[in-house]
């Protein structure tokens, strides 16, 4: 993994580097050094808490985009067994920007779908930076319908800067593909759990993001458009993205308050990018908790609750 450091992470990493240095020297029984290391570790811990407790919304957006963050396939590796990826929409092609497949979580058979980003350039291009084409959404729908037929819960991991705005995408009906998924996901009679693991922008995120529970990792964001896109339109300059992120209130606490999401999942110290295994463990536990609750409901009840859940979203006066 490339070494990628955000500005506000620097002071913490600086201390961590010094701790590592001291450790190299401290093979001996030097008590002084041990004390110093201990002191620095407390300091790092304090600083970490301080920095992460008052992240601005824009810093949160940057963390959500951290190239070392775990992606869908990392979560699959760390929380599922017997996963088999399924490809293709049976109509046009396979979209590598969305991963879909079947497998088990803690022995429970589930269908998992997620946006897939990548870390090296070649792979990033192949995955189209996690921006799906219509065939991606149609593949997702095909696999979800299969899950519904066999009464398997559906897990969707959201991590996209948006659906791809290109010629082919428009020709093949990007809007229709997303709309169809919203429509069908609303009344699939099996539990659907949505976890936002990184970025969640616009219809591109929502196209695999309608469910009974919407969970958000701590350092993620979710909104109607990217902060850059919003800034380009409203401020006529995408450099105003930090202000747009503030104005649109894109972070998990905002969305919990606005009753858009159900729950925030705390990340391992320093963020999910510091510990993929721990991050996956947190997500896995949350999924199992929610499944235990949703599993009590019949298909019809699930659908009614789901539609009612979305019906109450929004703020208006009357």
């Amino acid at each position: 993994m490339a070494n990628f450091v955000l500005d506000f992470e620097k002071p913490i990493l600086e201390i961590e580097r010094r701790i590592a240095e001291l450790r190299e020297f401290s093979n001996s029984e030097d008590m002084e050094l041990h004390k110093e290391i201990e002191r620095l570790e407390t300091k790092a811990q304090k600083l970490r808490l301080e920095v992460y407790s008052k992240l601005t919304r824009w810093q949160r957006v940057q963390l959500a985009r951290h190239p070392n963050r775990p992606y869908t396939l990392d979560y699959i590796d760390n929380m599922m067994t017997d996963f088999i990826e399924l490809h293709g929409d049976r109509a046009f092609g396979d979209d590598p920007a969305i991963v879909a497949g079947i497998g088990k979580i803690d022995g429970i058979p589930v269908t998992l779908i997620g946006h897939q980003k990548a870390r090296d350039t070649r792979e990033k291009i192949r995955r189209n930076f996690g921006m799906p084409h219509p065939e991606g959404y149609r593949k997702a729908l095909r696999v979800m319908r299969l899950a519904a037929r066999f009464n398997r819960p559906i897990i969707c991991l959201i991590d996209t800067p948006g659906a791809y705005p290109g010629l082919g995408a428009e020709e093949r009906g990007q809007a229709e593909a997303i709309a169809r998924n919203l429509f069908e996901m609303a009344h699939l009679p099996v539990p659907i759990i949505i976890v936002i693991i990184g970025e969640g922008a616009s219809g591109g995120a929502l196209g695999i993001g309608v469910g009974d529970r919407i969970l958000m990792m701590e350092n993620t964001w979710f909104s109607v458009i990217t902060p850059e896109g919003c800034a380009a339109i409203l401020y006529r300059n995408s450099a105003n993205a930090p202000q747009a992120a503030e104005a649109m209130r894109v972070t998990p606490p905002d969305l919990l308050e606005l009753k858009v999401i159900d729950r925030i999942l705390p990340e391992p110290p320093g963020g999910a990018h510091n510990d993929h295994v721990a991050a996956a463990h947190i997500v896995k536990k949350a999924i199992l908790d929610e499944l235990a609750q949703l599993g009590q409901l019949k298909g019809e009840e699930l659908v009614l609750q789901r539609v009612a859940k979305y019906a109450q979203m929004g703020v208006w006066s009357e």
């Binding site: 705005p165 809007a175 219809g203 929502l206 109607v224 019809e300 009614l304 019906a311 929004g314």
Partner: protein, 330 residues
């Protein structure tokens, strides 16, 4: 062949207010200078090149609803400013200005009306109000209109004109896409028809939700219809867009629109389609002998729940089924 005849009278003088000042208007497409009264009489369609000028919700309601039959509901649902949003201008100011400029409360109007004598629920968006964008109120009004259509067993007709989801309400606007689509799923489960009419422009989150979910999708000629806006696509791919890209005709060619309908024929087209759906199902025999697999072949989405709901509603076709078949459905 009565649909050749224009059923609606020419638009009344009150629509004059909505047009720019001046007696003459230049056609955006062919450059012809048009006499405004002539354009009014011609449903805002260029007399030379048939270019369709944009119309507001009043004009569309007049176009489709039988005279004086439109009764608006839910006008009391008003926008709030849940995010206290501010860019170069406060959202609350934007809302106030839009209301003052247009005399509307929001970017959509919903109500009951008759269309060629058939009772329907009509939804008309209005592009003049913050680009017809969908925030909480637009989503809520469309959702409630859909609820009413289900309660009253009426077809739903939505005329879309929108730049997409409204940024000033952030994720709340995004969720309206899911909300309206979820309600339409219930409408579909209740076996009621939904006709979606796409006008210039229909883009973004509106296209990617209720607009593209019509059982029948009609479009006015030359309307811009798409997910991403042309400017964004152009920036992304770094080249000019092909001629006619994202226009109604392009969508028809690619299979996303059923029919492109000239404005003067729109009402008759909708009436014809509605009467097709409204006609009672063909007499018993065919339905009774319908083989069981028909149910299994229905997409998963039409769950057991939806079938029970439809049964409860006593649509003609369900009541005509034999009791045995009804119970086999459960």
């Amino acid at each position: 062949m009565e649909w050749f005849k224009r059923v609606t009278p020419g638009l009344e003088p009150q629509t004059k207010r909505e047009l720019p000042d001046g007696l003459w208007i230049k056609c955006d497409n062919c450059g012809e200078i048009l006499y405004k009264k002539e354009l009014d009489r011609n449903l805002q369609v260029c007399t030379k090149c048939a270019f369709h000028f944009r119309m507001n919700s009043d004009q569309y309601i007049q176009l489709l609803a039988d005279e004086d039959s439109f009764v608006e509901f839910n006008r009391h649902i008003l926008p709030a400013d849940p995010l206290k949003f501010k860019d170069t201008k406060k959202y609350s100011d934007r809302l106030r200005d839009a209301a003052a400029k247009t005399g509307l409360e929001e970017a959509v109007r919903t109500g009951r009306c008759q269309l060629s004598g058939m009772p329907i629920i009509l939804v008309a968006m209005d592009f003049r109000f913050i680009g017809g964008s969908m925030g909480s109120v637009v989503g809520e009004k469309i959702s409630r209109a859909t609820d009413i259509a289900i309660q009253e067993q009426k077809p739903l007709v939505i005329i879309s004109a929108s730049g997409g989801a409204r940024m000033q309400e952030g994720a709340l606007s995004l969720m309206q896409m899911a909300k309206t689509s979820a309600k339409l799923a219930l409408l579909s489960d209740a076996k009621l028809p939904y006709i979606s009419i796409l006008t210039d422009p229909t883009t973004g989150g509106v296209t990617a939700s209720f607009s593209m979910l019509g059982d029948i999708i009609l479009a006015e000629p030359g309307a811009l219809i798409g997910f991403a806006g042309p400017r964004v696509i152009k920036q992304t791919i770094g080249q000019d867009l092909p001629e006619g890209f994202q226009r109604s005709e392009f969508l028809l060619t690619h299979g996303f629109v059923d029919v492109i309908v000239h404005r003067a024929e729109m009402k008759n087209h909708v009436a014809q389609i509605l009467s097709y759906f409204a006609q009672p199902a063909a007499p018993g025999k065919k339905i009774r002998t319908a083989p069981k697999p028909r149910t299994a072949a229905v997409p998963v989405a039409k769950s057991a729940k939806s079938r029970t709901a439809a049964k409860g509603k006593k649509t003609r076709s369900t009541t005509e089924r034999s009791p045995r078949e009804n119970s086999a459905d459960e």
